[in-house]
Amino acid sequence: MTARGLEHMEIGAGRTWRRFRRRRGGLVGLGVVVILLLTAFFAPLIAGNVPIVCRYQGRWSAPAIVETFRRVPVVGQWISPSKPFGLPSVDAKSHLSQEDVVFWPLIPFGPTETSSDSLRPPSSVHWFGTDRIGRDLASRMVHGTTVSMTVGFVAMGIATLIGLSIGGWAGYAGGWVDALFSRLIEVVTCFPVLFLILSVTVWLEPSIVNVMVIIGLTRWTSIARFTRGEFLRLREQEFVLAARASGAGPFRIAVRHLLPNAIAPALVTITFGVAQAILLEAALSWLGFGVQQPNPSWGNILRSAYVQLRWSPHMVYPPCAAIFLAVLAYNLVGDALRDAIDPRTETRTV
């Protein structure tokens, strides 16, 4: 049964993908999401004041590449920075001369690197211009992408874990367990997330980790509701009865048989949730309670820009466009995914 269940899931996934591909909006959205994810991951190779590869004093090194992998959670802490230019106290630009072989990132400015070029309009040197203390906006936008994508995915990862667990448990167990979790879902749905986060920042340090955790702890309710509904529908199906008859325990039935069949509607919610998490992080950083200066995020770049709106409007467009694009892309993907999963849209061609 297990093998057949998974086989069904693979067939279902293949069918969903085929139908997803027919929705051009979804494909465009998916393309943008992939570009944003790649930008987020490879940010040090795209923008930074650390060389991608260089030969200094006869030795080759790849500080930006090393830095890229050092940023990977868990694994990164075991990787040492490339010396000397991966160290925070060493300025590569002042050490490397024209005689050295250097491959700089496309945007050769660090996201926190200040300069005397304040409020420069977009140019061939500074693609999006500079801010009030001479930081390159393009570089900050690229590194801000990492923040937005990380918040979106980690926050919704936490929300998914909680939503699937509680929704699945409520749906499978039914009875008082279902009643209890349903009330809990209703209560948490009522939480005003933004104000909750603002309140929490009074006690906890306003960091990206705290923001992700709070978003995750409050945005799981719609995932739980969908999962509960699907579990309620599926738990009386024949394949579940067969699994139960063959001696499978409740946990095994829920995880191996019900969850693969119930996850599709939740996926749509998760996709929309990522967009909402990105918006939330931007709003928080805009208020000054999200990602803290000098670290860049789209929200805090927008805040800096907003103050200068009347006399340096060039700073406003990049973060606005990025937030708009990311939210639109995730919504397009979610919309297309919903259509692809829903069998009632089988005959539709777009």
Partner: protein, 602 residues
């Protein structure tokens, strides 16, 4: 594709509308903050007020007519004019005994008069409208105030010595939340009414600052005595709340109405015993957001607005601004700083070398030019260079990362060749722990300049292997962290005190527990000099003590002294008689009481 856009048309339209609205919104974020340029008052007219500050040769900055005094020919004054001021927020109260914020102080100077005043140069004197005489005893332990006969409150009730004594009793009453008013007033040990016009002050110690202690808020006894039994706080009962929102004062203007979050209206008090007030009506518009204030000024809805450095430098260079008014620029004695907690609660800043290293790692010129648009000047310690307490021998910290690094090496914070950060083995709870030199600086939420300053400082500290993180806190929370001493560093600003002795509660070692010595600074020499200054009655000698202690404090670097932010203001074309004190255009005598509008500008 067409269908796709059809389906998303509504969504796209909504997003675009919301994006456009974001760009067009008038209620832009607040930029003026406790540590930002602008809120003080000082100086006099264009000349000396701007000394040391880079100014553009611009006819729209400090035009001479802005500072013109009212003419002797009263027919040239528009006595029917209305003055429209801006307020940064709602006052909590209009009871002067309970007032504690700058917003409330703005109302106090219009609604209330006191027996004593101080001018734009912070010179203390008696108020000729109220006071007949003030005589201190030869031993400086007591003084006698004789008030003028026939003084009244706005409601016609007589204002007597008993009101003064009642007010002092309320300020000293622990049940009354008069923390701000109590500072200095607590030097008076006893206050008694000799007769209806005479008050005797007995001082706890023969201090040079005693006369400042007698400059306290006066409230009408006949109003507040009635509700005192039911509500000893003067702040909670319905009776007191009502009177605190619609005060009976004795100043040149009387209260008319207060619409929360909108406006407070005052009118000329016809029976004012001093010079006739120049305006028939004063409306104070409550506009918390700096950009909104600027727009209101440009639309002609208010006659003055405080400007942030970027507004002064860029935002006011528009046709609409120049049609509305001119810019005022003055030298402010306030200083912005980064406070480093040296009370031993962190392993870094108890060490003088570390504090000095941080001071050497700050690019002051960049902060002045980029964050303050060249309008500020570098702070030179706790006293402004134009003040009589300034020490000429202060040797400013240079921006020298190599020297900063050496000082950190000397303090035992060595760079780890593996990761580039500085570490030291310190003792924590009896155990030796290898600790990284990383600290967090608290910033107050509404500020737009402090995150930029923090970004500049953090970038330079990184170059010497020190990590500085920043943490934005809402203003009340920021203050709570300060009061609880829960911080490693913080960025803020101090307004200039009218007397240098007020620095006692910031720098004296005894002020750590319950006053405003947040960083836990303690130096016996400074303590002794404060004590000497308090007891010295020779002006020059006294100023010498404060100058000496200011140099010691600067060299010890408990603060990173950043800049003296300037006074930046917008004034309507019709306004005349403006004057700056070291705090800005308000909160001194005559200050706003000298503002007037000519008939010709009606």
């Amino acid at each position: 594709m067409r269908v796709m856009f059809g389906r998303y048309r509504t969504f796209l339209a909504l997003l675009l509308i919301s994006a456009c609205c974001g760009g067009c919104r008038r209620d832009l974020p607040e930029t003026n903050t406790p540590d930002e340029g602008g809120a003080g008052a000082s100086g006099n007219s264009s000349g000396s007020a701007t000394s040391g500050i880079a100014t553009a040769a611009d006819a729209f900055v400090n035009p001479p007519w802005l500072f013109e005094r009212a003419p002797a020919d009263s027919t040239k004054v528009d006595w029917d004019a209305e003055l429209r001021l801006s307020l940064r927020g709602n006052p909590n109260t209009l009871n002067p005994v309970l007032m504690s914020s700058a917003v409330e102080e703005r109302l106090k100077e219009l609604l209330f008069d006191y027996p004593f005043i101080f001018d734009a140069k912070f010179r203390w004197s008696i108020n000729p409208a109220m006071t007949e005489s003030f005589v201190e005893s030869g031993d400086h332990r007591s003084a006698t105030l004789v008030m003028k006969n026939g003084l009244t409150w706005h409601d016609g009730a007589p204002l007597t010595a008993h009101d003064v004594v009642f007010s002092w009793e309320q300020i000293m009453d622990e049940d009354v939340p008069a923390r701000s008013a109590r500072g200095g007033t607590d030097q008076i040990a006893k206050c008694t009414a000799v007769d209806n016009q005479t008050v005797r002050f007995d001082f706890a110690e023969p201090y040079a600052t005693n006369k400042w202690g007698a400059l306290f808020a006066i409230i009408p006894r006949h109003i507040y005595e009635v509700g005192k039994t039911d509500d000893p706080t003067l702040a909670r009962s319905k009776y007191h709340v009502t009177h605190n929102r619609s005060p009976i004062g004795n100043g040149p203007y009387r209260f008319v109405s207060w619409e929360s979050d909108d406006r407070i209206v005052l009118e000329r008090w016809k029976d004012y015993p001093g010079r006739k007030p120049f305006f028939a009506k004063i409306t104070l518009r409550i506009i918390p957001i700096a950009q909104a204030r600027l727009l209101a000024f440009e639309r002609g809805e208010i006659d003055e607005a405080e400007l942030s450095p970027e507004q002064f430098a860029n935002g006011s260079d528009t046709t609409s601004f120049r049609k509305a008014g001119v810019k005022g620029l003055g030298s402010h004695w306030r200083f912005n700083y980064i406070g480093l907690s040296g009370d031993g609660s962190n392993p870094f800043f108890a060490d003088r070398n570390v504090r000095r290293a941080v001071s050497h790692a700050v690019n002051y010129d960049r902060i002045v030019s980029q964050v303050f648009h060249g309008l500020a000047r570098r702070a030179r310690g706790i006293f402004h260079p134009d003040s009589p307490m300034y020490h000429d021998g202060i040797d400013l910290f240079s921006f020298d990362l190599k020297l900063a690094g050496k000082l950190l090496d000397k303090a035992g914070w060595a760079i780890d060749s593996d990761d580039g950060w500085r570490y030291k083995t310190v003792e924590v709870g009896g155990e030796k722990v290898r600790t990284r030199l990383t600290f967090t600086v608290n910033l107050a939420q509404p500020s737009t300049t402090s995150p930029l300053v923090a970004a500049i400082v953090a970038e330079d500290l990184k170059k010497i292997g020190v990590e500085m993180k920043s943490r934005v806190l809402e203003w009340a929370t920021f203050l709570e962290h300060l009061r609880n001493r829960e911080f490693e560093a913080f960025m803020s600003a101090w307004n200039p005190p009218v007397d240098p002795d007020y620095g006692w509660n910031v720098w004296h070692s005894t002020a750590y527990e319950s006053q405003r010595n947040y960083v836990g600074y303690a130096d016996k020499r400074v303590d002794d000099l404060f004590a000497k200054g308090r007891k010295c009655f020779d002006h020059d000698e006294r100023m010498g003590y404060y100058a000496e202690l200011s140099k010691i404090i600067y060299d010890d670097a408990p603060y990173v002294f950043l800049v003296n932010s300037p006074i930046l203001w917008a004034f309507d074309h019709r306004l005349r008689g403006v004057e700056f004190s070291p705090r800005g255009p308000f909160m001194f005598e005559p200050g706003i009481r000298n503002w007037w509008m000519p008939v010709s500008a009606r």
